[in-house]
Chain length 408, copies 2
């Protein structure tokens, strides 16, 4: 049950700390690493020598146009891009985005493929992912890790996609299938969780330990950072904000249930409501983005059913956030995805709704930021997820590394 700390763990952890510092802060001298990790210079000297010998870190040549001070110049250490590479695949409705990322985080190769995800067979879908990764890796070193980001629900272990709106097929074990094919660890991740990870990397001062990332798109998703950790469910990717119940017995949701937040705030729900249809009408599928923008323009111009639809969407999101704040406490919110383009209409009803809830006590202090383009975030978050996992893996084999060094 409770497991003691062995002696080898110490080195492993400190190696991990060094890698984490370099990954987060970029090129750092040994002295700077010592300051960041609070380890002694001698320890950093030893660890970085190991990491350089292994090819994990490299000494940067140019000290950059840094003003030359007196004394021995610092030599910056950086992640060795050639150390390994990771593959990121993002699967969305009718599209597949594949990216190869070097160990230092630089994007090496990118491919985008269109494919009919809603009508494809299960095996064809898996095959498409395999093909994409194969194409990425062709001619280069095989990826050391693979992250597949999907809309929908994944399992907490990251081995399978349990359900996704992009395909009628449920419970696809992408993890084992890809791992067997490419002989590398694979994790399947929820797209919104990757957005949250990316926000933290990209704007660490704004999105530090606690924040909500709400994806407003066809569906409604959420990624949540709590106490510096990505929040996940106990069995699944969790955080299904869009399927919290806003109005019991209310509007028909794409998931088949009634009254979910998404059934009011998903773009299909807005389109349905604006069209004046009953809230239990089957939701329209695959709405072109242009249609929604036209709807938003109309809503801004005229106080008609379109505007009412956006107001109802904002209200649903606001009440949902209020319940969320009752559980997690208020924190900054990032509104991501196409829906962010209509946030000017959503903000007021959202704030009004939150003010009606327990989370509204400090409603003035709740800050919203918008980011309409979600794809770069999903890819960046996935890449960082893969790379930090790789860092952990690289930190482990102390025995192997020191043995190799002795031989040399």
């Amino acid at each position: 049950m409770t497991v003691g700390v062995r002696h080898d763990d110490l080195r492993r952890r400190n190696r991990a700390m060094v890698l984490a510092a370099v990954r987060r802060l970029g090129q750092l001298s040994r002295t700077e690493i010592a300051a960041a990790t609070e380890l002694s210079n001698s320890t950093i000297s030893a660890i970085s020598a190991d990491l350089i010998a292994e090819g994990t870190l490299v000494e940067a040549k140019a000290p950059e146009g840094v003003l030359a001070r007196r004394g021995r110049p610092q030599v910056a250490l950086g992640l060795n891009p050639a150390r390994a590479s990771v593959a990121v695949v993002v699967l969305t409705l009718n599209q597949l985005w594949a990216t190869l990322v070097a160990y230092d985080g630089a994007v090496t190769r990118e491919e985008t493929t269109r494919l009919p995800t809603l009508t494809m067979g299960r095996d064809a879908l898996v095959g498409a992912v395999v093909d994409a990764i194969e194409k990425l890796a062709s001619g280069g070193q095989p990826p050391a890790r693979i992250v597949l980001a999907v809309q929908g629900i994944t399992d907490a272990g990251g081995t399978r996609m349990l359900w996704s709106p992009i395909t009628p097929h449920a419970d696809i074990a992408f993890g084992p299938l890809l791992a067997a094919r490419f002989d590398a660890p694979v994790t399947v991740q929820n797209d919104c969780n990757m957005i949250a990870v990316a926000l933290k990397w990209r704007w660490p001062q704004r999105y530090r330990d606690d924040f909500f990332a709400i994806l407003l798109s066809d569906g409604i998703g959420m990624g949540l950072m709590q106490k510096g950790q990505l929040f996940t469910g106990t069995h699944s990717s969790g955080g299904e904000f869009g399927h919290m119940i806003h109005r019991p017995g209310g509007a028909l949701c794409r998931c088949g249930r009634l009254g979910c937040v998404e059934a009011y705030a998903g773009s299909y729900a807005v389109v349905r409501a604006a069209a004046g249809g009953g809230e239990n009408d089957a939701p329209p599928a695959d709405i072109p983005e242009a249609e929604i923008e036209a709807l938003a323009d109309r809503a801004r111009a005229v106080d008609g059913p379109e505007r009412a639809a956006f107001m109802r969407a904002g209200e649903a999101i606001g009440y949902g956030l209020g319940s969320l704040f009752a559980l997690f406490d208020p924190a900054p919110v990032a509104v991501v995805g196409p829906g962010a383009l209509a946030f000017d209409m959503l903000e007021q009803p959202i704030r009004e709704a939150i003010a009606q809830t327990a989370g509204g006590q400090h409603s003035g202090a709740i800050s919203f930021a918008t980011e309409p383009d979600e794809m770069p975030l999903i890819r960046e978050g996935s890449a960082m997820t893969a790379l930090t996992a790789l860092d952990e893996e690289i930190s482990a084999p102390v025995a192997a590394a020191s043995a190799r060094r002795e031989v040399a």
Copy 2:
């Protein structure tokens, strides 16, 4: 930012592991501790010698009627009750429960005081807590730690009570006040969180890493264990399940807002609804338990407004749980407090409501257990919270301990 692991941490952590193993599993021989912690016998020998020399552990004399095997008999180590004691104070409506607990977890002294919490002044309330602890500690060693459990919201740091239904006074800094008076660390904890802690200690196989403890009383509270850790908000004790919004603009809650779960499921809400009053009537205060039992009996006997009130309560709880499950995934639920006595009427509407939600996918697998008496759990959870914090504190001073040993 990222901080490396120093060498001293190693011993400290392993000492903590040893204490945790003995606390969780009871009297253990050195060999058993080694097995539980996965540390070597030699390490356990060294650590336990230190802990015994400090007076933290003691060798148990009687090997109990354990069947005598061949070989050197194991000598069990246990927590030394005289090592320290902790004080637990539970503040509820009109009552104060104080308990002194020895280091091994045995209850040494208990006191219960009645007091008019709703009408008392702020200082009088603090004074009552001080008096209770003074009385507990009189004649013995001063408590090494104090835990104060209260209904309502506390801050995440455990220093203050932000809001409680038992008093009109908000934001009382019990922590600093008591700490200054008794020269010991103090934490202020939410009662439902303490229930969750207690459930985990008392039935570790049933309530392991993930479960919900729902307190059904005058108000509705929740304690939540997620991934083995007590869930708390980022700024407050969090998990205000009772104030998630069940029906936007719905029934008037004790908190002043409309449509909270508690406004349907708190006992005041059930009484109000059963009495046929409007759902926006001011909620009745301080309902005697007998009245509620009579209401429940009536509801069981006749299909009238009383039964409808319980059904509506169950529905609110069920929808709330459904939203909770959408975020955290389904997990076992413990229904604690007086409301558990009416759970026979609540279960069906709860299950029906959950089945209407995203969390209902596995609604058959969701298990409920009831525990009508919440006070023993609150006290036990508070005591274990104090004692495990003390264990951590005791694990730290390695340098001091070994220095002392050298002198001897």
